[in-house]
């Protein structure tokens, strides 16, 4: 049945290059766990190490208490869903789903019952006799999901399963995957570079960059209290400011001040980075002075790109934005207009000046 996955100091090298320099992580039993990061961050490599397709160059890997380092992929009892579906093109949908039973001793009636059941669960029963070439991408990925879970694997591994699908289908299938996973109750490790998808689907997320885990937490924790500047800017959007901590407030390069954010553990005189999401700003009579550069209408909100006085924004990052809810009666700002903005002090985050660490109390839980 379903297991937990424990990684202790896992190492992966390609040639002379170390892709994963020593990674520790625990995925709980029956949990929907997502590895999230930009492409090339090592998330797929890690998934393939769990699957057994990539060798382990150091450290330990356990399914429950069982060491897995020397178990070949086909004996790990995993179910895997691939980015390009990997549906056998020479077999019908039903034959594809039955395929895993060729390596398992299960009676014919039992196979039929379980295949029927799973075809219903993923809603592809009407296509069971079709050949893969006759199916759409979304249907193919449903077949792949059925094929992976019908064998009752210990863990379900999914490598960017939705990234070849169009936006609408992605939403549908995302829900289907989530429902099936909860229904079957199977430990799932899901790889994606799409942060919105990760937030929507996961119980917990590990954000990875350059082979190192940046933060592990629930979607809300990761969004609300990012552990460092990378997580803050990779998950959602965050504008980054440079500020100096004073007794009760933060002071910016242009002399403007805001009260100290709630829960920020800073010492007076300390140089810090302040991270504010576009929706955490609101116009006020005083506060941070900004000039509107451009305005974009996005349906439920209006997005303004802002420009601040020299030295206020942290250099080298995308321009800071302000998102205004579109209510129809709201006051819209024109490019060139000056406005003053107050951050939501309960939601903004403060980091060390180099963005490496959160200064929020209880914020930034590491793996």
């Amino acid at each position: 049945m379903s297991v937990s996955i424990t990684m202790n100091n896992l190492v992966k090298r390609y040639g002379g290059q170390t892709v994963i320099p020593g990674l520790s992580l625990t995925i709980r039993n029956e949990e929907f766990f997502t590895l999230l990061g930009p492409s090339g961050c090592g998330k797929t490599t890690l998934l393939r190490m769990i699957a057994g397709f990539n060798g382990v160059d150091g450290g330990e890997l356990y399914f429950d208490e069982r060491p897995m380092m020397n178990i070949p992929a086909h004996r790990r009892n995993i179910g895997m869903v691939f980015q390009n579906y990997a549906i056998f093109p020479n077999m019908s949908v039903r034959k594809n789903v039955e395929y895993g039973f060729r390596a398992r001793k299960v009676s014919k009636e039992e196979v039929r019952r379980r295949v029927d059941e799973i075809l219903d669960v993923v809603r592809i029963r009407e296509y069971q006799d079709r050949m893969p070439a006759q199916l759409s991408g979304g249907q193919l990925q449903r077949v792949a999901l059925a094929r992976a879970i019908v064998i009752h694997p210990s863990v379900l591994l999914m490598d960017e399963p939705l990234s070849n699908l169009d936006a609408k289908l992605r939403l549908d299938l995302r829900g289907a995957i989530r429902d099936v996973q909860k229904q079957v109750g199977i430990t799932t490790c899901y790889v994606t570079h799409d942060q919105e998808e990760a937030l929507a689907i996961s119980d917990r997320i590990a954000v990875m960059n350059q082979g190192v885990i940046q933060q592990v937490g629930t979607p809300m924790e990761i969004y609300a209290r990012p552990a460092n500047g990378f997580v803050a800017t990779f998950i959602g959007r965050s504008g980054l400011f440079r500020a100096t901590a004073r007794e009760d407030c933060l002071e910016f390069a242009d002399g403007s001040r805001i009260p100290r954010p709630v829960g920020a553990a800073v010492a007076p005189g300390q140089q810090v980075a302040l991270s504010i999401r576009p929706e955490e700003l609101s116009p006020a009579a005083s506060g941070l002075r900004a000039v509107v550069r451009s305005r974009t209408f996005l349906g439920k909100s209006l997005n303004y790109v802002l420009e601040f006085a020299d030295g206020v924004a942290l250099p080298g990052y995308p321009p800071i934005e302000y998102a205004q809810d579109f209510t129809g009666s709201c006051r819209m700002y024109e490019p060139g207009e000056v406005l003053f903005l107050q951050p939501d002090l309960g939601r903004v985050n403060v980091f060390t000046e180099d963005l490496s660490r959160s200064l929020m109390e209880g914020g930034g839980s590491h793996g």
């Binding site: 086909h74 990997a86 094929r147």
Partner: protein, 548 residues
């Protein structure tokens, strides 16, 4: 740390590497070295000095190169327009036309040589007809003219098949783009179409050049004193058997050096200039009406039927009564009866050794394709490169190489079926290997991983998933290997013994002996065998295109 067990593929790649070293690289090295040795085994350049100082010798190289250049130029002139017309104009009976072209390509060139002698030789039918009825002495077909004629008609299909493949993959929007820019007619072809197919045409031209350079049967039969490198090598080698074969070895080394340089130049050009064309939309064939259409069809069918004259002649004469070199009045199956009585074993040998060779070729082709595509490392890289060697080694050279190496203790394979099959495998493996790796590149590696993830062991996954999906590609390569295996002459003629004589060797020796009747009967059997193989292949693969 984690221990890794050596898997099946690592062991297999070492075994294959060892086999390549033993059966190909080591013999070739021996050949090259013996080219630099004198009568007493001392190191010397005297073989090469001898070659370049006597006109008789270096003339052969010059002759070979002139034949190869002329044939290549002529095949390009025929093949490219032919491919252009059948791709862009609607041609009636396109399938039949393609099949006829493939038949022209597949039949061995020495059969062409022999039938052109029957027709236009000194006492050929056409020659005598012109002399007796019209009083005109038309020039005979021997020597340079004949060789070029026979090889051109046999080799233009390579250009045709390669170039029509490239034209079909060409995106029609490229030509539409040219037209939208105001470029049309002949300028569209020269500025747009020709540059795009140039890399493909060059590869095909190289294939033609190598074939023309390496062909043994044609100059031997129709050359009449027009000595080319392969015939020179053969003569020197046969003359010197039992003595010192180092002069023949030096000649062979020289030839391999030339072909290797050409091959590398072509590869260099194609690697730099190759375009990756892959069009979803095949170019639409335009109907051509009126007199233009008639002219088009007459020209197309004229060329193709002309190139089939040898086959038709051979099949016709096989049913004539014959007495040695003279065909008599009346039809009968006497030639076939005689052929079966005296040379029936040759048919069996062809099938037997051909099947053994194709069996090994398929297994090796699939295994090497898999190793070099999916398990890239230094060893599989060496194997992949070494498996391309046969492209640049003329058949007669390979024959000599194998005989020199394996006709001494502990091998003593001279005259056995082992050495025949060995040379067939080495020579014809590349076709199956290339098309196997081509299809493997199109099969995602994740399919095999999906099977493994479902609990099926890697080796079983390879057999259940990968090999099954590779079958069409393996098959189309294997059919090409098979057809060329059963028609092989240039290496077999050096390696055969009375026990291992094949059909093509039997045809050759019957022509040389002057038994034209049995030669025609055996040629017909060989042609029918080839044709049946192709038809089965088309039926099984469900299309009528050969993928080269």
């Amino acid at each position: 740390m984690v221990k890794r067990r050596p898997d099946v593929w690592q062991i297999l790649s070492l075994v294959i590497l060892a086999a390549f070293c033993l059966f190909l690289l080591w013999p070739l090295l021996c050949l090259f070295l013996s080219g630099f040795q004198g009568e007493e085994g001392q190191w010397t350049l005297e073989n090469f000095v001898k070659f370049f100082s006597k006109r008789y010798y270096y003339q052969a190289l010059w002759n070979s190169l002139s034949v190869a250049v002329c044939v290549t130029a002529l095949t390009l002139l025929i093949g490219i327009p032919l491919a252009y017309c059948t791709t862009f104009f609607r041609v009636r009976g396109r399938g039949v036309l393609d099949l006829l072209i493939i038949i022209a390509m597949m039949s061995p060139p020495f059969i062409g040589a022999y039938s052109w002698i029957l027709l236009c030789g000194r006492s050929g039918w056409v020659t005598t007809f012109f002399a007796e009825h019209l009083g005109i002495d038309i020039p005979t077909v021997y020597g340079f003219r004949g060789i070029v004629l026979v090889l051109t008609l046999k080799l233009y299909p390579f250009i045709y098949i390669y170039v029509s493949g490239a034209l079909k993959r060409m995106d029609p929007s490229l030509m539409e783009a040219a037209e939208s820019l105001g470029i049309h007619g002949i300028r569209k072809i020269t500025s747009n179409v020709l540059p795009l197919i140039a890399p493909t045409a060059l590869s095909a031209a190289l294939l033609v050049f190598m074939n023309a350079l390496a062909d043994f049967g044609t100059p031997q039969l129709i050359g009449e004193g027009y000595v080319t490198m392969p015939t020179l090598i053969y003569t020197e080698f046969v003359n010197e058997m039992g003595g010192n074969a180092s002069f023949a070895a030096a000649l062979a080394a020289l030839m391999v050096a030339i072909t290797a340089v050409l091959f590398l130049l072509q590869k260099f050009y194609v690697d730099r200039r190759g375009y990756n064309m892959n069009s979803m939309r095949a170019p639409a064939a335009q109907p051509v009406a009126g007199w233009r259409g008639s002219v088009l069809h007459i020209l197309l069918y004229g060329v193709v039927l002309f190139s089939l004259i040898p086959q038709v002649t051979v099949i016709y004469t096989s049913f004539l009564n014959a007495n040695r070199m003279v065909f008599l009045k009346g039809y009968s199956l006497n030639s076939y009866v005689l052929a079966f009585q005296t040379l029936g074993g040759a048919i069996w040998n062809t099938v037997r050794m051909g099947s053994a060779a194709i069996f090994i070729i398929v297994i090796l082709g699939v295994a090497i394709a898999y190793l070099s595509v999916r398990r890239r490392n230094i060893i599989t890289g060496i194997i992949d490169t070494a498996s391309m060697f046969p492209y640049i080694i003329p058949g007669s050279v390979l024959g000599i190489t194998l005989l020199l190496t394996f006709n001494k203790r502990p091998w003593l394979w001279g005259g056995t079926a082992i050495i025949m099959v060995l040379s067939l495998v080495i020579r014809r493996l590349p076709y199956t290997l290339r098309s196997s790796s081509a299809i493997l590149h199109q099969i995602p590696a994740s399919l095999e991983e999906a099977s493994v993830s479902l609990g099926v062991s890697p080796l079983k996954s390879f057999f259940r998933i990968t090999t099954v999906l590779m079958l069409p590609g393996v098959f189309s390569g294997a059919i090409l290997s098979w057809v060329t295996v059963i028609n092989e002459l240039s290496s077999s003629v050096i390696l055969y013994s009375t026990k291992t004589r094949t059909l093509s060797v039997a045809v050759y020796s019957e022509v040389v002996r002057g038994s034209y009747g049995t030669a025609a009967a055996l040629s017909t059997i060989l042609t029918v065998l080839t044709l049946v193989s192709l038809l089965i292949a088309f039926r099984v693969s469900g299309n009528d295109e050969l993928h080269l």
